[in-house]
Symmetry: C2
């Protein structure tokens, strides 16, 4: 079965699956410009660090395609930079959109300096580069899946079948398709090595029960949903082999910001002798940031915790703490950091030359 | 402010607060007989190990009061035993109802053997003994609160104010009133030593966000709700001093069955150097059971995880694992087991002589 596709782009027409409506309804909504993308990201109609960057880039491509080329390349540069800066403000924790923006601005600067390129050609080149993010991410995910599955199989070589736990959603719904952590799980399943994947509910937004469970059922991957509170009991009872999670941002030393609850899973994995992996495109590694203490952690609205839809599930008047992410120290990432370039120990990370 | 009272009993009239309707509505429902009690316990209109036993006992008292005395004491014995055996089947994990049933049957046997007591007097004695469970539990809770608060204060003596994390609901809604773990928290607050209590949501049934948060807001105790996935991050960020939880059943060696998620909190507390306490009436200790492996763990319906009210929150078709409880090994209970008789280390537990 084909994997689920949540971002559709064709000749400047961008549509995304509205993840807020899952699992009730599978509805695609059009994104015409960067304002639409910003709002969709902010409202979490699309989420997941790679998907945020892709939708941001494609929304700008769609907008640029409809636009007549500006008078000068400098003007094009200014316009592109302004729109990218705006997109970066949609959510603060993931680094992918920011890195994509920096790369695009760098390209604009190069094109501006290149006297052989006119403004129309420069615009086309920028559009093409933005549009390439979709296929690039898909290729990266397939490589992540391959590297990760091989590493897990190598480290659990005595096992016939492998039991994996994952957190949040890192699949087709969080990426261009296939997924990062869930891509590794897909690759293990394709290799007939997966006994069962345990996906955590991932409160308060239920990305696990709504989105990951949806993908797993959709592709008939053997899966069991557990509440976040059941992780340790499940590790013990089912003898989980590895926990594999995604990343919103990895610091230079390997400290990893990811969905709230990840840190706790890493502590529990350590105490149960379970391998702990982070799977993310290499672009999620932010070499500008020395360690996890410098990663900004988004605090989200209390209503995510007090209500489910319009139903109140918490006592009125209670104070809440709702951080969207936490930081897992590098030393707890015992399996390694799985990227499209291979699997790295935290102390092996080095910026691309 | 008076503490919340969830079980009302007066001259054979029993009413309980329907906890399924909290926090939306504070509605009391009458319980006329053991069938009503069985159904209310099974449907979790009342939950919490001590409260289950109290409602069971009071429902039988209410029923016996309305009944003409049987012809013989043997007949009374049979009737009482039959109804108690039925009540015990309502939920399997907590031991309190079972112990209360055993004590009542023992009393019946003694009364039957006592030739100075006639059947009407025997019936009255049984009713009085069943009715006493309410006041006895309240007295036990106050003692648990006192012992626990003193122990916590002693072990955190350098701290001006204390930060506590608790799980599930162990307060007025789970007991005759005041509570076990929440009783300790109430006592710390009365002693002006409580900085903040962090209560976990307690998925999938949200006893933390619905019930504990309700009690804490009701009594203006400084409190913050966190998701179960945030426990480790909260321990680290807020420098929690102690985790205090209740117990559904404590084995002879101190292994403790309690709401799913407790084991995980104990592991996290250990790795964050946070004290971990269990607070429960001495009757929760089941000396018949050598260790936690022998405690039956109830599996609850998947719908608790897939739906919130009538709203589906998990993908259709996903398999679930929904154990109601887990077992925390005695060695993780670093603070001790707080009972009305004092605070015990696991290896100090001994049956009453």
């Amino acid at each position: 079965m084909a994997t689920l596709q949540a971002i559709k782009y064709n000749d400047g027409q961008l549509e995304i699956l509205d993840q807020l409506l899952l699992p009730e309804s599978c509805t695609f909504i059009p994104i015409f410009n960067v304002e639409d993308a910003w709002a969709a990201i902010r409202e979490m109609k699309v989420r997941g660090a790679p998907a945020i960057a892709i939708v941001g880039c494609l929304s700008l491509a769609a907008e640029l395609r409809k636009l007549a080329a500006p008078d000068t390349k400098e003007e094009l540069c200014r316009l592109v930079k302004e729109k990218l800066d705006y997109l970066v403000t949609s959510r603060p924790t993931a680094v992918n959109m920011q890195l994509a923006a920096e790369a695009c601005v760098k390209l604009c600067t190069q094109l501006t300096a290149n006297t052989l390129v006119n403004v129309a050609e420069a615009k086309d080149a920028v559009v093409k580069s933005l549009e390439a993010t979709l296929a690039n991410d898909m290729a990266d995910n397939l490589a992540i899946g391959e590297h990760g599955a091989n590493d897990v199989m190598k480290k659990t070589a005595t096992k016939d079948k492998i039991r994996i736990m994952t957190h949040c959603n890192t699949g087709s719904l969080a990426t261009a398709g296939y997924g990062t952590a869930l891509g590794v799980i897909r690759s293990l399943h394709k290799a007939s090595k997966l006994d069962q994947v345990y996906c955590t509910e991932t409160r308060p937004y239920n990305q696990g029960s709504r989105l990951t469970a949806f993908e797993l059922v959709y592709e008939k991957i053997p899966a069991t949903l557990v509440c976040d509170s059941m992780a340790a009991a499940a590790m013990k009872q089912f003898k989980i082999d590895a926990v594999i999670v995604g990343a919103d941002r990895v610091a230079a030393n390997g400290d990893t910001a990811n969905k709230i609850g990840t840190y706790q899973l890493a502590v529990l994995a350590k105490s149960h002798d379970v391998l702990f992996y982070v799977a993310a495109p290499f672009s999620s590694i932010d070499f500008q940031i020395p360690n996890g203490r410098s990663i900004p952690i988004e605090e989200r609205p209390h209503s995510e915790m007090t209500h489910t839809g319009s139903l109140r599930t918490a006592a009125a008047g209670i104070n809440c703490w709702n951080p969207g992410f936490d930081v897992t120290p590098a030393e707890l990432i015992t399996g390694g950091i799985i990227t499209e370039k291979g699997v790295f120990k935290a102390d092996q990370l080095a910026p691309p030359q």
